[in-house]
């Protein structure tokens, strides 16, 4: 939707703004159904290998930093809250609040990605990168043998760790890009109580990415327990 559409009210193919709004929301939800299946392929593969190689997956899970994972969970849920508040601000036409909440959401999103990058670097230092540099050492190795898990199977766990969190991070990055556009538009005053569909649609996307993480966190960081 470009600017001219905002001024004329709705795009030419729609009857009115209401129809356009509904179409946008339905479109985003349909897209999210697609996204569910996109991640779904990964979750299915994960389920199979986790069932098959539980000890190895537990070992792998213990090599992740639980604190960072939990911290990121909090950050991301926080960003979902600010996003929800942003949508609300758009609904009620509070422009300044809208921009503020978008900025907050972006900050939290960026914080999440920063922590993720830190974790990745840590994994690289400890040679836990499947395919490229996978040679768990020292205490890590000890743990692995203690649990009688095969190194290749632990590597599989790390495949999933990187594929899943990587895919998720990619979605976050795209989300941040979308938010940046949204921020500019909100600062330009493009949205009103009559027209805030893009804010809402972006919000849906952001919450979805949050939901993916809500599952990734226990499935990757918490399996096998820490007792």
């Amino acid at each position: 939707m470009n600017l001219s559409e905002v001024h004329t009210g709705h795009a030419h193919q729609f009857e009115d703004i209401e129809q356009q709004h509904e179409a946008g929301t339905l479109g985003m939800w349909a897209f999210l159904a697609t996204e569910i299946m996109f991640f779904g392929g990964l979750f299915a593969a994960y389920t199979i290998y986790r069932t098959a190689y539980l000890p190895a997956f537990e070992t792998g899970s213990r090599l992740l930093d639980l604190r960072l994972g939990a911290f990121n969970t909090v950050v991301l849920i926080g960003s979902s809250l600010t996003m929800a508040l942003a949508v609300r601000a758009a609904q009620t036409g509070e422009r300044n609040k809208l921009a503020t909440y978008i900025v907050l959401t972006m900050i939290l999103g960026a914080a999440f990605l920063g922590v993720k990058a830190f974790e990745y670097e840590h994994k690289w230092d400890h040679s836990l990168i499947p395919g490229l540099k996978f040679a768990p050492e020292g205490e890590d190795l000890l743990q692995i043998t203690r649990w009688h898990a095969g190194i290749p199977q632990v590597q599989l766990f790390f495949c999933f760790y990187f594929f899943m969190t990587g895919m998720h991070a990619l979605h976050m990055i795209i989300g941040l890009g979308l938010l940046a556009v949204l921020l500019v538009r909100s600062l330009r005053g493009n949205f009103s109580t009559h027209y805030y569909s893009p804010v809402e649609v972006n919000g849906l996307y952001w919450h979805f990415v949050d939901i993916v993480w809500i599952f990734l966190f226990p499935l990757l960081y918490l399996i096998g327990g820490r007792y």
């Binding site: 795009a11 030419h12 193919q13 729609f14 009857e15 129809q19 509904e22 179409a23 339905l26 479109g27 349909a30 897209f31 159904a33 697609t34 996204e35 299946m37 996109f38 991640f39 779904g40 392929g41 990964l42 299915a44 593969a45 199979i48 290998y49 098959a52 190689y53 190895a56 499947p130 395919g131 490229l132 996978f134 095969g150 290749p152 199977q153 590597q155 599989l156 790390f158 495949c159 594929f163 895919m167």
Partner: protein, 538 residues
């Protein structure tokens, strides 16, 4: 009767000119034509590969191509025909053109996403062509691991990425259709009044939305596995190659219904129009499209009966495969019953539609041989399967596609094509088709495996027959290509409704104006209400 010359009104083709007006168009009709040009090109590429294969297979020793080259040919053929021709063919060409018009809308819900989908398709197609010219790919269209992930020395990565990208064009098209059909129907156009073409596209879109992403992620995994060798599909590192097959077929079986459902929609339109009758059992036919789409998601494992899948899973998949055949059967019977006491004309589109019913029936019924476990053990991986799916995809979908192109050509171009040639071509294609692929059923039963660059002597006769048929078929396809292009310039003007058909798309001039209708139509009757008034042929 007098109708204005095409040039005399402003329509989507002459509203503006120049390459930019096409490349940046958001008009669904123009995008449909962009797709038409690109899928036709890809069909010729895939067809060329088929021609080379059939030439090679005339002789048992196969001296024309190196085995390696032959493998690249059938891979190219399968990948191009499936991902770049048949999946977009009807939805992205006819669907794009017709879905908004049939429901009385001015455009699809997201015109720019629609254009984007074409560009995405284009990028995928170009990458594939680059990969083919750069040495090709030799994994077959199924990309089975660990061959594709570890052992193949060809451009698997590039083609995988290309297929991944193209998948998104399919997703975007499906998304657009779903939203458009839900939200943008003309006043009075209730669900029970929708043309069956729309129902079929709705069902197809469901599959595109829910199935394609799984293929996408699978190809990502394949690509990563190929780059990193981390072991997801490599048994040496604890992976399971069968998991790839599960994920692949989770998309690719439903994908065969992406290929057939729109064709069924087209045939419903053709049969009703050319027998001037309401469809027999509208509700059943509409509902069976949805049933096929949903049940189609539950049967993917029937491609894995002999690959080491659990015997019990095999039983379940077999039973469900039989189940999904029932709604198809219902459709076939209803189409046939629609003919009863009709006023049947023998125009070219109708010939294609009738050809579709017959050949789809044969193709579908031979699918039962494969859904049945004991016989599939023998037939899996043989030419029987090749024959099965060509009967459905070439004998079925392409027939319907050509029928649809002929039917709506006057609407698309505003011109009529030479009817005699069209009927002649339909006949040549029908004969050539059967000559090409019927022998392959026999070959398969005799045990000739597919994807063989050379083969034992005893299979030669049938292979020669098949190759002979392919040349007839090739000629058959060339004829419409020529006269349709010819008609663009020399065809007589068609008028808004040359067939006396009922859909909304026929109530607007040919070619239609950019916004499709002068004013939004209001629908007051059921679909195919041919009995409601006298037909004036226009």
């Amino acid at each position: 009767m007098h109708y204005p010359r095409i040039e005399s009104h402003v329509h989507y083709l002459n509203v503006n000119y120049g390459i930019r007006s096409w490349l940046f168009t958001t008009d669904h009709k123009r995008i449909g034509l962009l797709y038409l040009a690109s899928v036709t090109f890809m069909f010729l590429v895939g067809g060329l590969a088929a021609v080379l294969m059939r030439l090679q297979l005339v002789e048992p020793q196969g001296t024309l191509l190196e085995p390696d080259t032959f493998n690249k040919m059938f891979s190219t053929h399968g990948i191009v025909m499936i991902f770049f021709f048949l999946i977009p063919a009807i939805p992205a060409v006819l669907g794009n053109f017709l879905v908004p018009m049939m429901i009385g809308a001015r455009d699809l819900a997201f015109p720019r996403i629609n254009l984007l989908s074409w560009y995405v398709y284009l990028v995928g197609a170009i990458l594939t062509l680059i990969a083919i010219l750069n040495g090709g790919v030799d994994t077959g269209w199924t990309f089975y691991t660990p061959y594709s992930s570890t052992y193949s020395n060809s451009n698997v990565l590039l083609v995988g990425i290309a297929a991944f990208i193209t998948g998104f064009s399919s997703i975007l098209t499906g998304l657009n259709f779903i939203v458009t059909i839900h939200k943008m129907r003309a006043p009075g156009l209730t669900w029970s009044r929708l043309p069956l073409f729309i129902w079929a596209h709705y069902a197809t879109s469901l599959i595109m939305l829910l199935g394609t992403p799984v293929l996408a992620i699978t190809l990502v995994l394949l690509a990563l596995e190929r780059i990193l060798h981390a072991g997801i599909f490599d048994p040496k590192l604890g992976g399971d190659p069968l998991l790839f097959q599960h994920l692949f077929w989770f998309y690719s079986h439903p994908a065969v219904y992406i290929m057939i459902l729109p064709a069924m929609g087209v045939v419903s339109e053709l049969i009703t129009c050319f027998s001037r009758k309401r469809i027999f059992g509208y509700k059943v036919v509409a509902f069976s499209s949805l049933a096929i789409a949903v049940l189609g998601f539950l049967v993917w494992g029937h491609h894995m009966f002999v690959t080491g899948q659990s015997v019990y899973a095999g039983l379940i998949f077999s039973a469900l495969s039989f189940l999904v055949a029932i709604p198809s059967a219902i459709k076939v019977f209803n189409w046939t019953a629609t003919l009863y006491k009709g006023s049947i004309s023998h125009d070219a589109p109708m010939l294609y539609a009738l050809g579709f019913i017959g050949l789809f029936t044969m193709g579908g019924l031979t699918g039962l041989f494969l859904a049945s476990l004991a016989t599939d053990v023998h037939l899996n991986g043989t030419y029987f399967i090749v024959a099965h799916f060509h009967y459905i995809m070439v004998g079925g979908t392409i027939m319907a596609y050509l029928g649809g192109i002929h039917f709506w050509w006057p609407k698309i171009s505003g011109r009529l094509y030479p009817d005699k040639w069209a009927r002649f071509a339909a006949l040549v294609i029908f004969i050539g088709f059967n000559l090409t692929f019927f022998p392959q059923f026999l070959l398969g039963y005799l045990g000739m495996p597919r994807r063989y660059a050379f083969y034992p002597q005893e299979f030669q006769v049938l292979n020669v027959l098949s190759s002979a048929g392919a040349s007839v078929l090739g000629v058959g396809y060339a004829i419409p290509l020529i006269y349709l292009i010819w008609s663009l310039r020399y065809g007589p003007p068609a008028g808004p409704n040359p067939w006396g058909a009922k859909g909304l798309e026929w109530q607007t001039p040919s070619p239609p104006p950019t916004e499709n209708f002068e004013e939004t139509p209001i629908v007051t009757e059921e679909a195919y209400a041919y009995a409601s008034e006298d037909h004036e042929l226009v």
